[in-house]
Structure formats: structure tokens, C-alpha cells
Amino acid sequence: MAHQAGFLVDIKRCSGCKGCVNACKAENNTRPQQGAFKGSVDYRRVVFTSPGRLTNTDTRNQSRFFVSTACYHCTNPACMRVCPARAIYKRGTDGVVLIRYNMCVGCRSCQFACPYSAPRFNSVARKMQKCTLCQHRLAAGLQPACVQTCVTKALRYKSDMTHDSSTMSVAPPDGPPGGPSGLSAQNFKRDAATYAALVGTSSTKHSQTLPNVGFNNE
């Protein structure tokens, strides 16, 4: 694989506004197709987490954070391995994980296998759908829709997640690499523990599968 593309998520910057969710929805036409809900899928979600909110009584130190989350285009995608129809594949050029829609049988195995439930079931089409990393926008020289709209610049696109070098451009397109906000890839922790703490995957279930996403929660 030449490169592995992915998202950088700066948890410090994310304000939980959920603009990314609706930018994705508009871009990828995942709106309801029948009635109020049917056919609506969310490629991207913002997970609000308040660890221990049920038992902690110290409001001043109650943790609350927001993580914009979508398909992480895993190095070793669980969804791909379980797909009985072999409809899911990982693209060689940039590691983007895609679903061959015409081969999908809608069994939802991939959704259950995915630690993040990234593949979503379209109840109208009875097929699975998920984030394509806006490959159609990338092809046109644009950022993914969620990155484009991110109000706080918490979401960023990185074309190559496999090289954690400060020379790699991870800053927004209007800025220099790195920059005062410290957004070199090295600042982003990509270990399973950080990931699990933030978006809640089982660290044992797919421990060999590091997600292609960086988090900055320092």
C-alpha cells in the first residue's frame, strides 16, 4: 500500500457542534428516503461521552468530551474479513475501505464486526453504506465534506497516515505544516488505549487493528 489516508481529530478543538454530520449528509445524500426516518444513514456521528456520569458526583471534575467519528478505514478491516459476499475491499492506492454496493447482500455482518459500527444499514435499499472518505471530492482536489465544514478545524484530512513525520502536511490547506496549534502528526496519539478511551472500542476484540485516525486530547 502506497499510502494510508485518514482523519485527524483534535479533541481539544472539537466543540461538539455536529456540523460535520450534516455536511456529510448533504454531500453524500444520506437523507431519509421514505417517511421520517427510512433510508437515512449517518456516515459520520459525533459521540458525546461523559465517563462515569451515572456515579460520579463531582460535577466540577466530570469529564465530558466530543468525538467526531466515522469509518476509520482500518489497516486490517474487520468488516472486510467478515463480509460473506466479499463486497468490501481496501483500496490499494490510499487504503480507503469501500463497499461494492452491487455485491452487498445487506446481512449487516460488517456492522456487527466493526468496533465502531461504521457500516450503516439502509433500510430502504437493504444494503450497507458507509463513509467513503469523500473519494469523489478528493478526486476533485477537495477536502472531505466533514473536514471542509468543521467549524473549529478539529477535523483534518491526512493523505498519508503511515508516516508520522512533521514534514507531512497535516495542517489545513490554508496553513503551513504544523503550526502553532501543534498539529504535526506526532502530536496525535494513535495507540489503542487512547482510541478506546475516546470512542469506545473493545481493545481486545480487534487489538491488532489500529485505526487510521489520530487523536489529540492532550
Binding site: 437515512s40 458525546f48 466540577r60 466530570q62 454496493y101 452487498c104 478545524k153 478506546a196
Partner: protein, 1099 residues
């Protein structure tokens, strides 16, 4: 009619690897990696570019931030909304230097480099194509609120409303059903607009014969009414809610009524009125101050959250992210962990008791005075020249801290309003003769000559009054007062933490890096006005004004209307407003309409009332939460017709209560008071809301993507350069999906602009009636008002209406029979564009060259916070930031206005610590069984009523996860009441269980799900503001919505009516009974003061 939903499904696209045209070339290269072609799913993205793809720039109106947007329109269908890269509000250029990023030298490819918009902005497409939108004019054929309608034509609707006849010949009177099954006519109630108009009012031809106003119907029959309370035309209320429309003020003026509908007392009048008084010393609306985020490194937000309905949300959120990233300290004080407070913890996250923000501010003030860590130079400066003489920097703004007050009279000392005395440091007494220091242009007085903390007989400096008032709180010392107030706020450490906070704030202020704000937090209490003054006092004591960052203001909002260009013969409106605000009072507190103690309230008992409802003499922002109730009372006069524009949801304001099934219909009908109290109710709105559902007529309106308009208040943080060289940066709103047509009306050439949901006009219309009748779908408010204006023959409408008025809009561009009014005004105001197309496609003039030559002081400027033009590279320059916030004049810590009315002298100082008070300013406490303080909030993706029906936004709400990975992801659409674990345990409440919420105003209560969470103070509970709504498309099938909804195949969305909203159970003022708890000074709804009881119920 275009149906975007069907269109999307029918053109389901399967891209092939072999696709070769246009932008798919690159894609085919990528796809070549796989053996079999990858295909899109059900939801194929739209084309990014192509012959049919157009990008149109406009401004957003999903909230009042007015971010710039650029909209992708494909074959007339809105496909995508992105940010307008030319908008200084939300582009990547503005503020880039602050965050340390390189300012791009050019916006060379705006289409591929859009700016940023929030969840609401992205969802605007869903607002336009909402399946629940109204498409045809409706007239009720059942009781009010029964949701039984008949579809009528626009001509029929206009005839009914204007004259009360079904046709233009005046032969068939319009009838409406009564609640009891009978009928009544609009004319029998004197409620048609022609009947309402004032006979003899200047410029108005008196209606005669059948149109004449019924004798004796001018004024209320309630005793003690203000007998000269208003001209008859005031019996029409015509206006908007939160939306801004260009010609509403024009219609009001031309009709002759003063009455509109302001939502501001429900929103932020406490914030505004406290500024009106503190920063001008008078009742002038001149300020819109907010904490700057580009300069400070220490920001204290008291209940303020830049993520939750604090406009402008987008830049504030980004700048605050930048602020924290560059090491700024954010301190929040909230009773819950809001999205802003989530960025703090421990010592930077204060949790004070609800409603004690003022006490907290006073404690900090006491500490500063005790430690002498305030901005002494600023407080001692009598005028800007004094300050400049000291530090050599330009200044335009000073305070009144060193000025004298005569404590015997409560008035500022000195001769004349502009001459205020100070104490001479050499003598300790006022200098001989009046000393004119109360002007910005006054001569410099050396600070060595000024006593800041002094007295001379009955004269004391404002500073000293504050100091003495603070000491009096504890009765001993300033430090003891800190301890006392800390206890009031709920601290148990004797004030240690507040002292540390105050010292940290003072240290930050010493390097010009402090800002304090309390938007939507401090002011949302019944004591909010005074608490806000205390918060402003913090900023005044540290002079956060005279520099970059700190607290900033804009140069003046463009306003909600483009104004009335003085049509020939326009009547002079007069009289008190229905909202009973400042317009009925003189500044000295005397009334304009009647005698105090006779017509309003008694002098002997200043808290007592003789009038049916209390006046709010110091607010000028209306008092929306009891306006309907007042109208039902007929006080100060009867209202005959109420035309609501753009969805002001006046029946859904506060404390109306609902039953256990969340059915508020009966209470709303009760509030309407029966058809004879408000005989004609009309809503012009894109969607059915609670108020529209109880109207007699519901008329379909366009959305912001289908019409012209101008930004309303705009952003307090950014002056858009109205008329300046950056005009057009987001503040022109123009249709992105519409049609234009050249037509003639009665042989007068005209040009029409319409929504895609109406059949385009064409050709010649012989009469105005023909023209009106040609419309068959939603129309712009401007069109609606022109329909009425033309039919009523009002001045300002029709051929030659402006000829010779001095406001001639130009040859061929006057307000002729065209309905083109608003568009012409745009052209007059904004000359950059050609003819009716308005602005050029970039929506701007001058840029992107504005950004050429980084570092160049003259060419590299753009509009920055506070309305100042700045070089982005100068923000941390040693002197560049000084005196550039556009703030000038004097700020007032002492307000003598509050003493001359019905308040005691302590109201003059920002040192008044009330708890919850009633509308007469006296303490109020609900019964002990209601033991939780109800807090509400507006999440960033729901900031106004209209977003309620947007399914993309409805779907965003859910509970917080308890812990990573232990709960399912999908919790969308289940709003719940937050309750602290300790409070929950005491009530047997578990996470997700059902609870019943009751209050003193709603003993039946409402049901909700509980969300047990440590994110809220133990004594509080939190309800979201935007759910549990009966209308807005929540329950379509059972309510016969399908007779009018845009897309009749789409069912109602039950998420809209799920859960509970705070309005259901919030408390009514104990004296007024039918409106919410209200700040007696600002008329601000105290929406964080209600007490509730929460019980577990089964199941």
C-alpha cells in the same frame, strides 16, 4: 414543482469505472485498482462540477449569525450549502493570523475553498425542502387549533384580511367558525385592516361606509387604561419573530401602527438593556458588547457558551478553539457542564448556585478593591484625554467611577447633564464651578488631581459608593464580604477560591488579556439585569474595552429593516406600544400617557398595580412573554388583528403549561382568549407552528434560500462593513433557487421574483387582483405586504408613491405597482451589482486584493472584532490594538435612572443581590415541594423555533455515553431531563427511567426520560429547549396535515414531539399568572429560575 426527494431517488446513480467525462477521469484512475468496479450505494453524491452546477453566494439565516454561504444549485435544485469564502465571519482567512496560520494571499478558487458552516447551516437544505412546508394559503374551517383547514387563493386571503369580504366587490362578508360551532364575521369584530385604520390619520383616507371603524371601539374598556394609549391603527400588530425582513417596518409605517412582535425579552433583552443603561447612561440602544476572543488569554464565561446559541456561533467556536490552543485560560461558571464548560475542569470550572452570578461578580469586585488590583488609571480618568495624557495611547472611552453623586438626591453631582463634578486631590472638594468632564472631548484632567475614593458632605464618588455598598454586605470589611458572597454562591471554602480567581483575573487584566462575558447565562434570571450590570462592572473595573480583545462592540447593527423611505402621505404613528415598554415613558420616569398612580401603578405602593398588567418602563425591547396575555386583557388597548410574519411563535412563549400527554392545545386556546378578544390572527410562515395552528389564516412563506433580504442584527462581533468597502460580505441574502419574470401590472412594467414552489408569473396582469391571484405558492413577506398595501391603497404602494418625497429611488425604480420594493432597496443600498441581480457573484467588492501583500499596513486590512479594521499581523503588536474597538463615550457604573422610577437607590449600583424576584421586584419562592431548579439551554444545532422541524437537526440529539463503548451508538432523538446522581438516588430515579415533571404552574406535569448525569449541579435539572413540540410536523397523519404539507407522502416525525421542553413546566410569574418569571427592569424572561419537582413514574 420540484421534488428533491423523488428526484434523488429516481436518478440513483451508479458510477462506472469506465466513466470518462469531466471530473470522473481522476476517479476512474483510482477505481482501476480493483478488479471489479466499485459502485456507489443508494446515496450517490451529487456532481461537484459541470455545466448544470452553479454556486451562488448568499448569507445564512438558520440563526442570526448570518454567516456567508455558497450554495450549489444543480438544475434549479439546491444540492449543498457550504461557507462563503468571502465572508469574514466564517472563512479561513478571518482570524487565521490569530491562530498562527498563514493568511492566504488570495482566495483564488472560492468554489473549491469554501468557508465553514455549522450543523444548522448545513441543514438549511432540509429547511427549504422540508416535507412539512406550507404550500397554499389556508383558512380555518373549524375551531381555532382544531387543525381543520380549507385551501384558498391568495386573492381570497388578501380580500378577507384587508376588507373582511370574500371577493373584491364587497358583497360577501367573510365568516369564521366560533369555538362553539357557530360563525362570526371579521367585519362584525371590526378586525379587517380597512376597519382598523385610523380615520383622519395623516395621509390616510378615512374608511367610510362599510369600512368605517365601529364607534367606541378605539380604546379598551378596562378602567385605568392609558386613555391616549394609541391611535386606532395600533390595533394592528404586524411583525416578525426572530426572522428579519426588509419591509416589515415599511408596512408598519405606511399603515400607521407602532406594534410589531419582538422576541427579545424571550431571548436577550436583559443583556441588551443592561448595556443600554451601562454604556450610554441613557436609554439609547447603542451597544452590543461581547467578550472578544482574538485577544485575551484569560476568559471568564458566566453561563455563556459559544457552542450553544451564542451568535456568531461559527467564528466564536473557532476562535475559542484557537484561544485554548494557544494557551489561553478558559474559566466557566455554569450549573451544568455545557459544551464550553466541557473544556474546563476543577479550578477553571466554577459551579455556583443558580442565580448567584451577580454575587460572584460582586465578590470579585470586592477582592479587587480590597487588593487595589483594579485598573486605576482607567477608573480615575475623567475623559479620554486624561487617559491619553497618562499613557500616550489614543483612547475614546472612560468610566464614571471618579465622578460625584449627590447621595441626598441620588443624582449625579454637577450642574447640567453634561457637567459632572469630581473631587480635587489638592483640596478634597469639588473644583469651583461646574466642571464639564462628561464629554469625550473634555480637556484632560491630570489624574494626580482626581480623588477616586472620596467624599465631600453628601457627595461621594461612584467608586466609593460601590466600595461602601460592598462592605455593607458583610457589615465589616471587603474581605469579609468576599467570604459572605462566596457562601451565597455555594462555596464552602470561605472565599479562598474566589480570591484566587479574582487575583488571576486581575493579573491577566494587568497585561490586557482579560475578558468576562455572560451571554444567555447571567441575564436569564429575574435578577439578570442587575447581575449583568455587575458583570459589566468587572469589565469596567479592569478596562477591558480600550484594546484588542477584552470586550468589544460593533459599530451599529444595520437593523431589522431597511427603514421606511418616507413615502408621500405616510401616516405618523404614535401611542404606546402593546409591549408597554419605554415608548410609554419619558426618560425621567414620568409617563407619556396618563398619570402615575392613576393610570399605571401607585406612587404610595410602588410595587402595587392599579393597571391590569405591569408596565416595563425601562425596557425598550418589548416583553414578548406576556404580550398575548395583555392583548387578551385589552390592555393598554384592544388588538383587533395580529399578523405574524416569519413564524413569531407568540403563543409558545412560556408557562402555558401542558397536560401529561404533552398536549398544550387547550391552554393555547385559553391564551388566545377566544375569537372576540383577538378577532383576526394571521400567520405568514414556512411551517406550521403552535401559533400558526391557532390562527385564522395560515399563509405560506418562503425560506431564506428563496428570497432577497438583508441581515438583521448581524453579528455583534463583526461589523459587516455595511456600505463600506467590504459590503456584501455575507450580509446580502439573495435567492439561490428562484425564478425572475418581466411582467406588467395594470400596464406598469414590473419584475417578479418567486420561489420554485410557485408557478412562475408571466405576461400582463390587467389589475392588481389578477396579479395577486396569479400566485399559487409561498410568497416573500415583501410580496405579502405589497399585496395588502396595494389592496388597501396605503401610501408607499402604487405608482408614484415616492415621487417628490426626497426618497425617490430612481427612475423606474420607485415603489410602483411592482412588488419589487425590497429588491430596489437593495440596489439603492448596495450599488456594487447591476440592476436587480444585486451584487455580483462574488458578493463583494475589493477583495481578494484586500489580502494581498501580507504585512502591509495599508493594503492588508480586513474587518476584525469590534468593528475595527486591522492588519491581521498586528493583533499582538504592542500598540496596534489600542483604542481600536470602536468603543467611545462613557460607561456608567451608577445609573440614576433607576432611582427616579419606582426602585430604591440601591438599584443605581451594580451591587444588588436578589434571588428570584417577581415582576414587582419582590422575592419569590415556589412551594418547597418544587425543589429542583430548572435550567434550559439551546444546543448549537437548535437555536430557534424554526429549526425544530428540521429532521437533520432533530436527529442530532441524544444522550451522552456513560463510558466509552458501553452503550449503543445510536441515541438520536431522545431528549431527556438531566438530573444529578445524588438527586436521582434520593428520588429513586435511574438512568433512562420515566419521570413526571411538575411545577407551580403545571401541577398535571409532563413526562420525560431521565438522564442521570454528573453534568449538572445537584440542585438543578436541565431540559433542552427544542423538543416536545406538537406541531412542526410532529404528528402529521392523525391531524390531517396531508391536506397542506409539501410532501404528503412523508409521515410526521415523532421525535419532534418526544420528551419534554422547559416551556412545558416553567413557572409563571406569581402576580401575572400567565407569563413566565420576568425581570421587572429589562422584561427579560427569567428562564433559568423555575422550580420543579421530578418524580419517578411507572412504566
Amino acid at each position: 414543482m420540484i421534488d428533491v426527494f423523488n428526484r434523488r431517488i429516481s436518478r440513483r446513480t451508479f458510477l462506472k469505472a469506465s466513466a470518462a467525462a469531466g471530473g470522473t477521469v481522476a476517479a476512474s484512475t483510482m477505481f482501476a485498482q480493483t478488479a471489479s468496479a466499485w459502485t456507489y450505494g443508494e446515496s450517490a453524491p451529487d456532481d461537484i462540477s459541470g455545466a448544470n452546477v452553479k454556486w451562488i453566494r448568499s448569507s445564512c439565516m438558520m440563526c442570526n449569525s448570518n454567516c456567508g454561504i455558497q450554495v450549489k444549485v444543480v438544475s434549479g435544485v439546491v444540492e449543498k450549502i457550504e461557507g462563503n469564502p468571502y465572508s469574514c465571519l466564517n472563512n479561513d482567512v478571518f482570524g487565521a493570523a490569530v491562530s498562527g496560520e498563514v493568511v492566504p494571499s488570495t482566495i483564488s478558487n472560492p468554489t473549491t475553498k469554501g468557508a465553514r458552516i455549522c450543523a444548522k447551516g448545513n441543514a438549511g437544505i432540509m429547511t427549504m425542502y422540508s416535507p412539512y412546508r406550507l404550500m397554499k394559503p389556508l383558512k380555518r374551517n373549524g375551531a381555532r387549533g382544531a387543525n381543520s383547514w380549507e385551501q384558498i387563493s391568495w386573492l381570497m386571503a388578501i380580500n378577507n384580511i384587508a376588507y373582511g369580504y370574500d371577493d373584491s366587490t364587497g358583497t360577501n362578508e367573510t365568516t369564521l367558525p366560533t369555538d362553539s360551532g357557530g360563525t362570526y364575521t371579521i367585519r362584525s369584530q371590526g378586525a379587517s385592516l380597512a376597519q382598523i385604520r385610523e380615520p383622519g390619520q395623516s395621509g390616510v383616507t378615512p374608511p367610510t361606509g362599510a369600512n368605517a371603524m365601529p364607534v367606541g371601539d378605539v380604546h379598551s374598556t378596562i378602567p385605568n387604561k392609558p386613555v391616549t394609549g394609541g391611535m386606532a391603527a395600533n390595533r394592528l400588530v404586524y411583525g416578525s419573530g426572530r426572522d428579519q425582513y426588509a419591509t416589515i417596518g415599511n408596512f408598519r409605517g405606511n399603515f400607521g401602527t407602532k406594534n410589531g412582535t419582538s422576541h427579545e425579552s424571550f431571548c436577550n433583552s436583559g443583556w441588551k438593556i443592561s448595556q443600554d443603561h451601562s454604556f450610554t447612561g441613557s436609554y439609547g440602544w447603542k451597544c452590543a458588547l461581547q467578550a472578544g476572543t482574538d485577544g485575551p488569554n484569560y476568559m471568564v464565561l458566566l453561563g455563556a457558551d459559544f457552542n450553544e446559541a451564542w451568535v456568531p456561533h461559527v467564528p466564536l467556536s473557532r476562535w475559542n478553539a484557537d484561544f485554548r490552543r494557544r494557551g489561553g485560560t478558559l474559566v466557566t461558571s455554569e450549573v451544568r457542564v455545557s459544551q464550553a464548560a466541557a473544556k474546563t475542569s476543577g479550578t477553571t470550572r466554577l459551579i455556583v448556585k443558580p442565580g448567584t452570578d451577580g454575587a460572584l461578580c460582586n465578590a470579585i469586585l470586592a477582592r479587587w478593591i480590597d487588593q487595589a488590583t483594579y485598573a486605576s488609571d482607567f477608573l480615575k480618568s475623567l475623559n479620554p484625554a486624561s487617559l491619553t495624557a497618562l499613557d500616550g495611547r489614543p483612547h475614546t472611552f472612560v468610566s464614571d467611577a471618579a465622578l460625584l453623586v449627590d447621595t441626598a438626591t441620588g443624582f449625579k453631582a454637577g450642574a447640567g447633564a453634561a457637567a459632572r463634578e469630581y473631587l480635587d486631590n489638592g483640596t478634597g472638594v469639588p473644583p469651583a464651578g461646574p466642571t464639564a468632564v462628561d464629554t469625550v472631548a473634555g480637556a484632560a484632567v491630570p489624574q494626580s488631581q482626581v480623588v477616586l475614593d472620596g467624599e465631600d458632605g453628601t457627595k461621594k464618588t461612584v467608586f466609593r459608593l460601590i466600595k461602601e455598598a460592598l462592605i455593607a454586605i458583610s457589615g465589616t470589611t471587603l474581605d469579609a464580604t468576599v467570604t459572605t458572597l462566596a457562601g451565597e454562591c455555594g462555596f464552602t471554602d470561605g472565599g479562598t477560591e474566589i480570591r484566587a480567581l479574582a487575583d488571576a483575573m486581575a493579573a491577566a487584566a494587568a497585561t490586557n488579556k482579560l475578558a468576562v462575558d455572560g451571554y444567555r447565562g447571567v441575564h436569564a434570571h429575574t435578577n439578570g439585569y442587575q447581575a449583568m450590570r455587575a458583570m459589566w462592572a468587572l469589565n469596567i473595573f479592569q478596562d477591558t474595552f480600550n484594546r484588542i480583545g477584552g470586550v468589544v462592540r460593533h459599530k451599529g447593527a444595520p437593523g431589522t429593516s431597511l427603514g421606511n423611505p418616507s413615502a408621500v402621505g405616510a401616516p405618523a404613528s404614535s401611542g404606546a406600544k402593546l409591549t408597554r415598554d419605554t415608548s410609554g415613558y419619558n426618560e425621567d420616569g414620568t409617563t407619556k400617557y396618563g398619570t402615575e398612580g392613576v393610570d399605571y401603578y401607585t406612587a404610595a405602593d410602588p410595587r402595587g398595580l392599579t393597571a391590569p398588567r405591569r408596565w416595563f418602563p425601562r425596557t425598550k425591547r418589548g416583553n414578548m412573554q406576556d404580550t398575548v396575555a395583555s392583548a387578551v386583557d385589552g390592555y393598554p388597548y384592544k388588538v383587533k388583528a395580529w399578523i405574524l410574519i416569519g413564524g413569531p411563535n407568540v403563543l409558545y412563549t412560556s408557562s402555558l403549561g401542558r397536560d401529561a400527554d404533552n398536549n398544550h392545545t387547550d391552554r393555547l386556546k385559553e391564551t388566545v382568549g377566544g375569537v372576540y378578544k383577538l378577532p383576526l390572527l394571521v400567520a405568514h410562515t414556512p411551517t406550521m407552528d403552535e401559533t400558526a395552528a391557532h390562527c385564522d389564516y395560515v399563509l405560506p412563506a418562503v425560506t431564506y434560500l428563496e428570497r432577497w433580504g438583508a441581515d438583521g442584527g448581524g453579528s455583534p462581533l463583526i461589523h459587516h462593513g455595511y456600505g463600506g468597502s467590504m459590503s456584501g460580505l455575507g450580509h446580502i441574502r439573495r435567492p439561490v433557487a428562484n425564478w425572475y419574470a418581466n411582467i406588467t401590472i395594470a400596464a406598469n412594467a414590473s419584475r417578479a421574483c418567486g420561489s420554485p414552489f410557485t408557478t412562475p408569473l408571466s405576461g400582463a396582469y390587467a389589475t392588481v387582483d389578477d396579479y395577486i391571484d396569479a400566485w399559487d405558492g409561498p410568497v416573500l413577506e415583501d410580496d405579502f405586504s405589497i399585496f395588502l398595501g396595494l389592496k388597501l391603497g396605503l401610501p408607499g404602494y402604487g405608482v408614484g408613491a415616492f415621487t417628490g418625497s426626497g426618497a425617490d429611488l430612481g427612475s423606474g425604480r420607485g415603489l410602483n405597482t411592482s412588488h419589487f420594493t425590497a429588491y430596489m432597496w437593495h440596489e439603492r443600498k448596495f450599488t456594487a451589482g447591476a440592476d436587480w441581480t444585486g451584487l455580483n457573484n462574488d458578493g463583494s467588492t475589493g477583495e481578494p486584493d484586500e489580502f494581498a501583500g501580507a504585512g502591509d499596513a495599508t493594503n492588508d486590512r480586513f474587518l476584525f472584532m469590534g468593528g475595527r479594521w486591522a492588519d491581521p499581523t498586528d493583533v499582538e503588536h504592542a500598540t496596534a490594538g489600542w483604542a481600536k474597538n470602536g468603543q467611545s463615550g462613557r460607561c456608567y457604573l451608577y445609573l440614576q435612572q433607576n432611582a427616579v422610577n419606582d426602585y430604591d437607590a440601591s438599584d443605581n449600583l451594580p451591587i444588588r443581590i436578589d434571588g428570584v424576584i417577581n415582576v414587582n421586584g419582590l422575592p419569590y419562592a415556589a412551594a418547597a415541594e418544587y425543589d429542583l431548579n430548572l435550567i434550559t439551554y439551546k444546543v448549537g444545532w437548535h437555536t430557534q423555533s424554526r429549526t425544530t422541524e428540521n429532521k437533520w437537526l432533530v436527529g442530532l440529539t441524544g444522550r451522552d455515553r456513560n463510558a466509552a463503548g458501553t452503550e449503543p451508538n445510536d441515541l438520536h432523538g431522545y431528549p431527556s431531563i438531566w438530573i444529578h446522581p445524588t438527586a436521582a438516588a434520593a428520588r429513586g430515579i435511574t438512568d433512562g427511567c420515566n419521570v413526571l415533571i411538575t411545577s407551580s404552574s403545571n401541577s398535571v406535569g409532563v413526562k420525560a426520560k431521565a438522564q442521570v448525569t454528573a453534568n449538572v449541579h445537584e440542585e438543578c435539572a436541565v431540559l433542552d429547549h427544542h423538543y416536545s413540540r406538537r406541531w412542526f410536523g410532529s404528528v402529521i397523519p392523525s391531524y390531517n396535515y396531508k391536506t397542506w404539507a409539501r410532501d404528503t407522502s412523508v409521515d410526521g416525525d415523532p421525535r419532534i414531539s418526544s420528551g419534554a421542553t422547559y416551556t412545558s413546566v416553567s413557572e409563571a410569574d406569581p402576580l401575572l399568572g400567565d407569563c413566565g418569571l420576568t425581570d421587572p427592569i429589562s422584561a427579560q424572561l427569567g428562564y433559568n429560575d423555575s422550580k420543579i419537582k421530578v418524580e419517578r413514574i411507572y412504566p
